[in-house]
């Protein structure tokens, strides 16, 4: 159970290896990696900058991770989110969930991503190839994705 907010890139293989080394209680490991796409609605992107709210970011990510750990039998989990200037193809976010059972690992990873997308205080600003740019709008689909976990709670 760990949360990291960092400028540096991360290494998927190394992170999973560190999280699961020597563990024989894990049967299923799910990872989600979010990367910068080369275009947005057809417009080529040259750069993406991620602003965040230091302090609150870590607090929110830890809260989200604790909620997942309370809902599913997780043997291990990890959230890494980058901030700063990124380019197309660069890693943005990594979520890893490990559990004895695959359904728990999948559901917890989706839950973490849905909450992260709607609760963690990060804001993306795109610079397009033509020099224009702006702040990325929040997606209604992300709010809808979050709702399913809240109705599932009752």
């Amino acid at each position: 159970m760990a949360v990291r907010v960092q400028l540096e890139d991360f290494d998927l293989g190394r992170e999973v290896a560190a999280l699961t080394a020597g563990r024989h209680d894990i049967g299923a490991i799910v990872t989600f990696t979010g990367t910068v796409r080369g275009s947005d609605k057809g417009a080529p992107i040259s750069e993406m900058t991620l602003e965040h709210y230091p302090g609150m970011t870590e607090t929110e990510l830890e809260r989200i991770e604790a909620e997942a750990t309370a809902r599913w039998p997780l043997a291990a989990s990890l959230i890494i989110h980058r901030h700063g200037a990124l380019r197309p193809g660069d890693n943005i976010v990594l979520v890893v969930t490990a559990s004895p059972h695959r359904q728990a690992a999948f559901e917890a990873a989706e839950f973490l991503m849905d909450f992260l997308k709607t609760r963690a205080p990060f804001w993306k600003k795109e610079t397009r190839m033509d020099g224009s740019g702006g702040w990325v709008d929040a997606r209604e689909a992300d709010d809808a994705a979050l709702d399913r976990w809240q109705s599932a709670k009752t």
Binding site: Y53, R119, F122
Partner: protein, 91 residues
């Protein structure tokens, strides 16, 4: 009887709210009658053109008190840090 001491809070702005404000943070003293987030937004909008621009559409500005998401009806009593920002777009 002693008066209620006036409450000083740190305001923080992020993303386009910060850009429209032209600054990332400032300290303000809450005036009498400003007891909730939405009352604070209403008062801030009267404080100058940058506030008017940043809070022109208050329904799209989110708030956090002491680094926890809150609703517009949240009370400010005891708050030390109040942040304003657009809906988040991480992940």
């Amino acid at each position: 009887m002693p008066e209620t001491p006036s409450q000083s809070v740190q305001l923080r702005y992020f993303a386009w709210v910060r850009e429209k404000m032209g600054r990332a943070e400032e300290t303000v003293t809450l005036p009498d009658g400003v007891a909730t987030v939405s009352e604070l937004v209403g008062w801030l909008r009267t404080q100058g053109p940058e506030y008017e621009a940043a809070f022109a559409r208050p329904e799209v500005v989110r708030a956090a008190i002491d680094q926890t998401h809150v609703k517009p009806t949240a009370p400010l009593a005891g708050a030390r840090e109040i942040a304003f920002f657009p809906p988040v777009t991480g992940g």
